[in-house]
Symmetry: C3
Subunit: 165 residues, 3 copies
């Protein structure tokens, strides 16, 4: 791993640790995260601090990965996928002042190795998406996804295992 900092017209990258042969496309905002070898990061992607992404992943355009998310290796994240880390988000505290990071509980989310998350999906905080699982496009995932199963819908439900049964 090496740490990179790029502040160019098309890239805002601050304190990001990357492995070998990582590809990062234009118009990205990445900070204080780790991205494994051979992983590709598409355009219009934001990855927040503390995020860990394994090797050989594909993070597609327009996707948002927040603090608290850990992604294994060989994972496909489609376009326009959003993660969440706060179950009851509010802009302000009860005193009316803006919430800072200390004012709410971060709830982690895990995506295990070789899972695929379809384009346009929203992943609620606190879930584990199991190894090799597949989330159908446009899903809203609100609970854990067992390994090697496919889920789809809003809220997402198991529709099959990945062997087609």
């Amino acid at each position: 791993m090496k740490k990179i900092n790029i502040d160019s017209p098309k890239k805002t990258i601050r304190d990001v640790e990357i492995g070998d042969r990582v590809t990062i496309f234009d118009f990205v905002n990445l900070y204080e995260c780790r991205i494994g070898s051979d992983t590709r990061v598409g355009t219009f992607v934001e990855i927040q601090k503390g995020v860990e992404i394994g090797s050989h992943c594909k993070i597609s355009s327009h996707t948002f990965i927040c603090e608290g998310v850990k992604i294994g290796s060989g994972v496909f994240i489609g376009h326009n996928v959003s993660f969440i880390n706060d179950r009851f988000p509010r802009a302000t505290n009860s005193d009316g002042l803006p919430k800072n990071r200390d004012d709410w509980d971060l709830i982690p989310t895990t995506v295990a190795d070789n899972a695929s998350i379809g384009t346009g999906s929203t992943i609620m905080c606190g879930v584990v998406i199991g190894e090799g699982a597949m989330v159908g496009a446009g899903s809203v995932v609100t609970r854990d996804v067992p390994a090697h199963t496919t889920v789809a819908g809003c809220p997402a439900k198991v529709i099959t295992d990945t062997e087609g049964n």
Copy 2:
């Protein structure tokens, strides 16, 4: 309020009125709108003309706020939230020429003070999201949301009031 114009590599900001201590992140397209004091605007956000946003709000990354939307103070708008202002959008008029702003009816949308709109939600035009209401992540809101209630789903339905009842 002061009016700002910034045309830098990472920001397109034209005729935007802002209050004090407004934070605007990279890769934004904001024009002819008003943003109140202490409000934060994330990356990859577009805010169109005529939009009014109160103070102490958080507008998260990848969100689109169109003409006709009025947002109160202390409002949380999640990531990847889209508003709408045209009920039956078409690219062209019956003569086949591109529609201009005079060729369709703008339908306004209001988000009242201290409401929260979850990540990945789509807000149909013409709705009022009441004070302190919460819209669950990944929702499609097609009708008014009463104050201090939580809605979720596609289409979004009331699941509880915000006291947990």
Copy 3:
């Protein structure tokens, strides 16, 4: 048609054929595609290689159009719309190495003339959206949409024809 290449701070445009009076906004990533006359392309849009878009279309902000998509003339694509071209996406092959374009089957999608796709919709691969059809905001389209009908929901179902019956 003329071919354009622009690599400026706010635009990444490579080998794109455009007609007359095409408008392209800031923060876009367009490559090896064709865009017809009088079509408008919004901010934060990515259009991939091989995509063909007709004349007099409106492609709104935050939208992703992938390889394999063909869009007619007079088409409205809302904000934050995502297309798909791979039914079972995976990041890697069974040998664990990253998939390249030769390692999966591209499944095409067609949007016929004068159709409208609402904001926040996800369009599964392999569908045909018929002439003049309308897809409601926030829909997940998983099957063909007949001409001159309106569909909505997740998954999208016919709710009316466009005459209001």
